[in-house]
Structure formats: structure tokens, C-alpha cells
Symmetry: C2
């Protein structure tokens, strides 16, 4: 299976490394909007190409993994590329998924291709676990908690404040809220009760720290609805202690069965990830295998993780899976 | 969707209650090897029938949920019934799954029917989580822990000892082993290090308690490889404190990604169940929906949870799923 990578940021680099862990795949090359000569790939024999030339390589690529941002890149890229390639992306703007799905589905059908969108961990593995748990326990309640992990969007929002040189924001689940959910009492939790926000900020010399802190904690949408803690640290400390991009979280459904709902059950799925982009990349690569197979079986159009049977993600035969994993 | 239940023990009764939680399903009736007149169903309008008459109701039942034991019932029942009905079972003898699969697959294909075997939580939801986690993190290690929960097989083994009137055995995961696994150090754990066994035993009057305890803790396969604790209690205490059938467990995969495996990740799935049979029943009913749909699409033969796309378990439309769960 020959994989193309479109975009070479953190996610694209993660995909390149994930391909190495899957012996049935090989990297054809990386497509970039930058000058291809400036890219240093980690894979022997793989080449960097100019994004604009990609249609020339239609027949050389089995699945193209599109590693762009959800805000502006993917809404345009994925439909455009789905006409010519089997594609997969990690589009994660939950509210816009129906529109993105429709656009990609139309394009893929036009080209006889197969696409999968919103593949990663949320949306992705968390969504899958919400679906399975809902089907098994119809009488119940879902909870999703994120963290402890770095939110790129919130870190960026802090960096835009005047006087801020650099920043890193962690979203943290509130342990007491997690415990309350686990008891099965189906608590109603406010935004503030579920997560806290922890900010490490490097201020520019002479900046007004009190004003920066006030601007952070009162920022609408991003911080105002949360208990937010701000720590001012040096650039050296930020680089030393907060360079990683960890993330994770919890999907919990509690529900009941029995004559009168007398039996309580809890289904819990959790992730703890040292590298958010590398884990997302690993999910993308597993689903690339499925996209390839679906297309070979003539199943064209846009799919999500809901539409893909788990066996299609695996390099194992059905016999081996049943003997060793069932 | 009209559901038939074949067998009316704990599992069959659980299926009957689970059908009530799914408005797109109705119970056609229960088939029993006992005298149908002796069964008291919980569902208005549903009837009990003699198991031997089942073929008369071929056209009245969309999916038959077979609620028998894995030791002797299911290996015969599921292939026999799969010739005439879409069927589903919870066959859980892991080592015999390949044979059972082959038998059921041949029968279902002969009859143009769809079957699903080994549906429940282990095999079932635990298997699914092992598969997904293996596909996402190829470089990693799997761990499954069970409990705290009642093992029917181990309780039965104790009850067969001379002088024992009644017994209840709990399998308990060792917290320290779980914590060691969660650190991502990929420990090699012995049977004894992973689980302990806790036994509540009601002795007959005048029985030799020391001998009973010795026979339990030294019993090969069942107890000899574990740290086993035996408590003698009265029948009243057993009935009062140990009547439930709770169970649960943990599926954990730790793995690494990155240039040199420098980023560690943990995927953890856990269940905590007040009623093992009712939860298994709830999984069976969700997969019954999928079996029905697969058959209507012409996908015949035997399936497992690996072969079934998650969307087929849900009564929601694709649009609703993508808008609300993705």
C-alpha cells in the first residue's frame, strides 16, 4: 500500500513515523506547499514534491493522508483531492462535520474514490466509544473529559495578548467530577466543574503581568467559564518543561438495565498520550488501510469511523484475529 | 425487528429486558426446552414456545438470540439454528472459537442467513478494544484484567467439593499490577501477580473446614496458581451479601511512537457491571440489530464483532450520528 502525505507539519511527520510501524505500507512521498527542497524527510527513498503537482501522481498513490488544519486547509483540500485520490483527514471542527462530510462525499463519488474524514481520537476513537456505549446502554448518560493535555488553540490565544512572548496551556479534568461521574449518579456538571485551565506564560520584558493575567482569565469562550491558573515562567523553563504535546482524556457512559433500572453499569475509555499528533497520526494510518480496502471492494464515497468495520483496520487475517484477539 | 429468544436463563431474561430499551425491536417469543406453560415472561403479549417447534416460526422471527451455555449448548444449537434463522450467540470458550465459527459459517451460508458469534464483553467489547488498540499502536503490549466479579465456573468448582453447601467466588485484579501496567513499562506478569481469588463458602454442618479450604486453594487450574482467600460464612450471609452477579475488567494497551519510540501512549477500556448477564444481553441486542441489517443487505455467513461496522449497531441515522456523536 503506497501512502502519500499531504502537508508536513507535526501531523504529517507523525504519519511518516507511523508508516514505519506498519510493514504492509510504504511512503511514496510528501507533498508540501513549501519549497520541496527544504524538507528533510525521515524516510530513505521517499521524496518531497510540490503540492501543486500532485495530480501527476494519481496512479502512484493508493491513499493520500491529508495533514492540514481544520480551520481553513481541510474544508478546501479534502474535497478537491477526493476527486482524484482515496483520502483521509482528521477534520476536527465538530459543528462543521455534516457540511464537510457532504462536500467530501460528493467529490469522492464523482471520482469513484473512497474518503474517510474526522479520523483521530476526538473526533475518532472517542466518537467510536460514545457510539458503542450508546448502543449497548440506551438508558444512560455520556461524559467526555479532556486532558491533562496541551490545547494549541488556547496556547495561541494567550500568545496573541500584548506583552506575551510565549505560552503553553493545559486543559485538566477535575478529578472530583470524574469520580462523581464514575459513581453512576449521572451528575449535571457545568463547564467550570469539569475542567480547569493551567497556563504557563513567558512575558516580554517590562510587560504588565497583572494585566496579562486579567486578560487571560477573563477572555470569553477560552477562559472566562473556567477556573484558570496563570504561572509566569522564563522562556528557558517553558522550553525545558513544556516542550511536549501530551494529551488524552476520558469517555464515560453510565447506564442501567434490569426490570426497574436496578443494575448500574459503567463503560470507560481513556487515553494518555505523550504526543497528541503522533497518536492521531497512528489512527490515521490504521484507517488508511481500511480506506484502501474499501475502495478495492468498490465502496466509494465518504466514510467516518462509524462506517468502517474494525477488521478492515488490521493487517491480520480474519483467522488470526479470531484465534488471537477475540 | 422481531426478536426470538432461545433459552430462558439469566441471559435470556436479560435479553428480554434489553429489548424493552430498544423501541425499534419487539419480542416475538421465548423458546424453551422446559414446559412452556411454566415460564412467566416479563413482556406483555409475548409467548413461550417449545424449543422443538421453532422451525414453524421461521418467517415470524427476524433474529434469534441463542442464550445457551458455551460448554455443550451453543456448539450444537448455533449451527443447527443458523440454517433457518439469523442468529447470534455469546459463545465464550476462546480456544474453540475457530471451530465454532467454521461450523456456524457453513450452516448460515447453506441457509442464506447471517450469524454473529461470541458477542458479549469478553469475547466481545474487550476483543474489539484489543483489536483497535493493536491497529493503532503496533509497537506495544496488551493486558487484560478481569474483575472484581463473580466467576460462575469457579463458584461451581467450589460447590462440587464435599462438605460445601454453597459458594461464591470473586476474581479480583491486583491493583499494583494494574498500576505497573499503566506506567507503560510493559511488565511481564505471572498469573499470580495479575489476579487474586476471593471465596465465600457455606459449609455443611459438621464439615471439615480446614480440608475444604485446602482443597480449594490447591485445586489445579482453578486456584493453585493464584493467591486465594477463603471465608466461611452462613447461607444467610451469602444470600444477603453475595446474591448479585457483578463483573468487569480492564483492557489496556501501552505502546510507543516516534523516531526512537520516545513517546509512550496508553489506551485503556474498562467495564464495571452490576449484572454480568444483563450487560452481555445488552451487547447481544445491539448486535442483533446489525445482524438483521447485514442479512437484508445480503451479507450472509458468520460474523464476529470484528466484521461489523459500529454504525450498524445504532438505531440512529448516519446524519444524526455524525451530528451528535462524532
Amino acid at each position: 500500500m503506497r501512502i502519500g502525505i499531504y502537508g508536513y507539519g507535526n501531523l504529517g511527520k507523525g504519519v511518516e513515523l507511523a508508516i514505519r510501524q506498519n510493514p504492509d505500507m510504504e511512503l511514496f512521498g510528501v507533498f508540501t506547499r513549501r519549497d520541496p527542497a527544504t524538507l528533510k524527510l525521515a524516510t530513505d527513498g521517499a521524496k518531497a514534491y510540490a503540492a501543486q503537482d500532485i495530480e501527476q501522481y494519481k496512479d502512484a498513490i493508493d491513499v493520500l493522508i491529508i495533514c492540514g488544519g481544520s480551520a481553513t486547509d481541510l474544508p478546501a483540500m479534502t474535497p478537491a483531492l477526493a476527486k482524484h485520490f482515496n483520502v483521509i483527514d482528521s477534520f476536527d471542527t465538530h459543528a462543521d462535520i455534516p457540511k464537510h462530510f457532504a462536500n467530501v462525499d460528493a467529490a469522492a463519488r464523482e471520482g469513484g474514490k473512497t474518503a474517510a474524514i474526522s479520523v483521530g481520537w476526538d473526533p475518532g476513537m472517542f466518537s467510536l466509544n460514545r457510539l458503542y456505549a450508546n448502543c449497548i446502554l440506551p438508558d444512560g448518560k455520556d461524559y467526555t473529559f479532556w486532558g491533562k493535555g496541551v490545547s494549541q488553540g488556547h496556547s495561541d490565544a494567550i500568545r496573541r495578548i500584548e506583552g506575551v512572548a510565549d505560552a503553553r496551556q493545559y486543559t485538566c479534568p477535575v478529578e472530583a467530577a470524574l469520580e462523581a461521574v464514575r459513581t453512576g449518579t449521572n451528575p449535571e456538571l457545568t463547564t467550570r466543574e469539569k475542567h480547569t485551565r493551567l497556563c504557563y506564560v513567558v512575558a516580554k520584558e517590562g510587560a504588565d503581568l497583572a494585566r496579562i493575567e486579567r486578560e487571560i482569565v477573563t477572555m470569553p469562550k477560552y477562559f472566562a467559564d473556567y477556573d484558570t491558573t496563570v504561572h509566569f515562567i522564563s522562556q528557558e523553563e517553558l522550553d525545558r518543561d513544556h516542550k511536549g504535546i501530551p494529551h488524552g482524556g476520558f469517555v464515560i457512559r453510565t447506564g442501567s438495565t434490569g426490570r426497574n433500572g436496578e443494575h448500574k453499569h459503567r463503560i470507560e475509555y481513556s487515553l494518555q498520550l505523550d504526543s497528541n499528533p503522533e497518536f492521531t497520526s497512528s489512527v490515521l494510518v490504521a484507517y488508511a488501510r481500511a480506506v484502501y480496502r474499501l475502495n478495492r471492494r468498490g465502496e466509494i464515497g465518504c466514510k467516518t469511523v462509524f462506517d468502517i468495520a474494525p477488521a478492515d483496520l488490521s493487517a491480520m487475517s480474519g483467522e488470526d484475529m479470531r484465534a488471537h484477539l477475540l
